[in-house]
Symmetry: C2
Subunit: 311 residues, 2 copies
Amino acid sequence: MSKSIKVFSPATVSNVTCGFDVLGFALEKPGDIIVARENASKGAHINQIIGSQNIPIDPLENVATVAANALLKHLGSGAGIEFTLYKNIKPGSGIGSSASSATAAVFATNQLLGTPIKNSFDLLPFAMAGEQIASGAFHADNVAPALLGGFVIVRSNDPLDVIQLGTPPDLYAVVIHPDLQIKTAESRKLLPKQVPLKDVVTQTGNLAGLVAGVLQHDYNLIGRSMKDVIVEPARETTIPGFKELKKAALNAGALGAGISGSGPSVFALCKGATSAQKVLDSMKSAYQNTHIQFDIYLSAINKRGTIEILD
Amino acid sequence: MSKSIKVFSPATVSNVTCGFDVLGFALEKPGDIIVARENASKGAHINQIIGSQNIPIDPLENVATVAANALLKHLGSGAGIEFTLYKNIKPGSGIGSSASSATAAVFATNQLLGTPIKNSFDLLPFAMAGEQIASGAFHADNVAPALLGGFVIVRSNDPLDVIQLGTPPDLYAVVIHPDLQIKTAESRKLLPKQVPLKDVVTQTGNLAGLVAGVLQHDYNLIGRSMKDVIVEPARETTIPGFKELKKAALNAGALGAGISGSGPSVFALCKGATSAQKVLDSMKSAYQNTHIQFDIYLSAINKRGTIEILD
C-alpha cells in the first residue's frame, strides 16, 4: 500500500471587527481533513470529496490541488498525489472554507514529500495561491491562522508579512452560520471607497486595543476594542438578523461580536466555555425567530493550526 | 519653610508614524520640572518660569495652573499652591511641551496634598484639561505617555481608555527639533478629510504590527511597521528637509522615522544606544545643510513617566 498522510486544517475567522483584511484567528472546529496518497500520475489530483457536492474536482479549479500543485512546481517535484477531501466546512460560509482545504493540501503534500519545506510558515504562499482560485484575491487573512493557529496579523500581503499573536488561554468563540449565500466579491462592492479620517482614528484605536488585548490576555480590553465603524455598518444588512444576533451575544455576556470574513457567519468571542455556552444558547434562540436554517459552533481558539493526524 | 515637591515630566512623541492620534511614547529627556510649594493664596499660581519667555503666567491661560486647578476643583480643595516651572521643552516643538508641564503640575499638586488620588492613572483627565488650553483638543496622546512612561495606546479619549504597552528594553529615540513654527491647528487643516479604504488597510496592518512589535520586543517588526500612508504624506512638506532627515536616519540604521506629533520635530527609533548615536550624527549632518537652527536629542524610551525628584 502506498504512503498516506492525514491532515486537519481549521476553520478561521478573518476581519475580526476592527481588523478588516489584517486580522484573523483559528477555530478548534470545524475543519477540513485531507488524506493525501502517493499516486503514479504526476501532479495533485482529487480522488474523492466527502461532505459537499458543489466543489470542482478539476485540478485547475479545486483550491486544494491548485495549492498543492503550486508547491510541487516550486519544488520541481514530479510526484503524483491524490487527495481524499473530507469537507466539513461549508463553502461560502465565511469561516475560511477554501483556506482550510488549500492549507491542508499544501501541508499534507509537504509531509508526504518528507518535509522539503522545513518551516511550515514558508508554506503560506502556496496555500494563498490555492485560496486565490476561490476568493479572487491573494490574501493571507484566513490561510495564515489556518496554518499557524491562534490570532494572526497580516501586516502586508505583498511582500508577505505575517505575525503570530497566539491567544489568551481562556478565549472561546461562538460561530453561527446562517444558510444564506453571500459572494465575497458582491460583499466587497458594498465597502466604502473612502473613509472619514475620524473613523480611521476610531478604528485604529480599537485595532491597537484589540492587538494589545490579545497579547496581554486582557479579556475586557478585547471586548472594549471589538468595534467596527467602517465595514460592519456597510455589510450588516446582507445578513438578516445580524443586529439581533449581536445583541443576543452581548446580552448573554460575550466580549464582542461581529461578521466573520464577509459573512454570512457571525462570531462572538467569550471568556470561558461556560460563558460561551450561554452566548451560544442566546444566539440560537434569537436566530430561531428568523426561520433561516443555521449551523452553530462553540470552539476554543485553535492554538496549533494545521496538523497531521496520526490514526 | 513651607512644604515643597519637585517633579519631572518627560517630553513625548505622539502619532508615531501609523498611530495617528492613538499612539505615543515618552522620552528620558528632555522634560519639564516643576517645583510646587504651599501658598496662602487659594488655587494654583505661577511664581516663576525659567527657560522660556513666551508662556502665559495668567492661571487661566497657563497649562500647568489650569491642570492643577482642575484637580483642586475636583477634590474640593481650598489649598494654595505656587509653581516654579523649569521649562526645558520648547513650546511648539511637537514633543509634548504643554503635556509635560500640565502633567508635572497635576502630579506635583497631588503629591503636595498627600496623594488624595491614589492611582496616578486617575490624574490623566486633569492633565488633559490643562493641555487642552494649549492644543485646543481634549486628547491624551501626549499626556498619557508623559504620566505613565513607555508606549501608550489611547484607544478612546471619550470615554478615556488608555493602555500601557511598556517598551522593548533596548529601544532608543533620536529627536531633532528644527527651529520652525508649526501651529497644531494649522497642521490639522492639512489632514485629508477622507481616506481611501486601501490606505486604511495598509495603515491598520502597520499599526497592528507596530503594537505587536512593541509588546513582543521585536525590533525588526517595529521597523517594518513604521510606515504612515495617511498623515505623513499630507504634512511632510511643512518641515523643510523632512525627506532628507528621514533618509539620513534610515541610511544610518534607524528602525524607522517620522514626524513627532504635528511637527516640526522629527524622530527616529533605533535598536541600541550605539546605533542611535550613528543615527543622530547622520541626521545632524543632513540637517546642517538647511541652515535652519535645531536641537537634537538622543534618549532611551522613558519607562517611569512622571516622577517626584528627591534632591
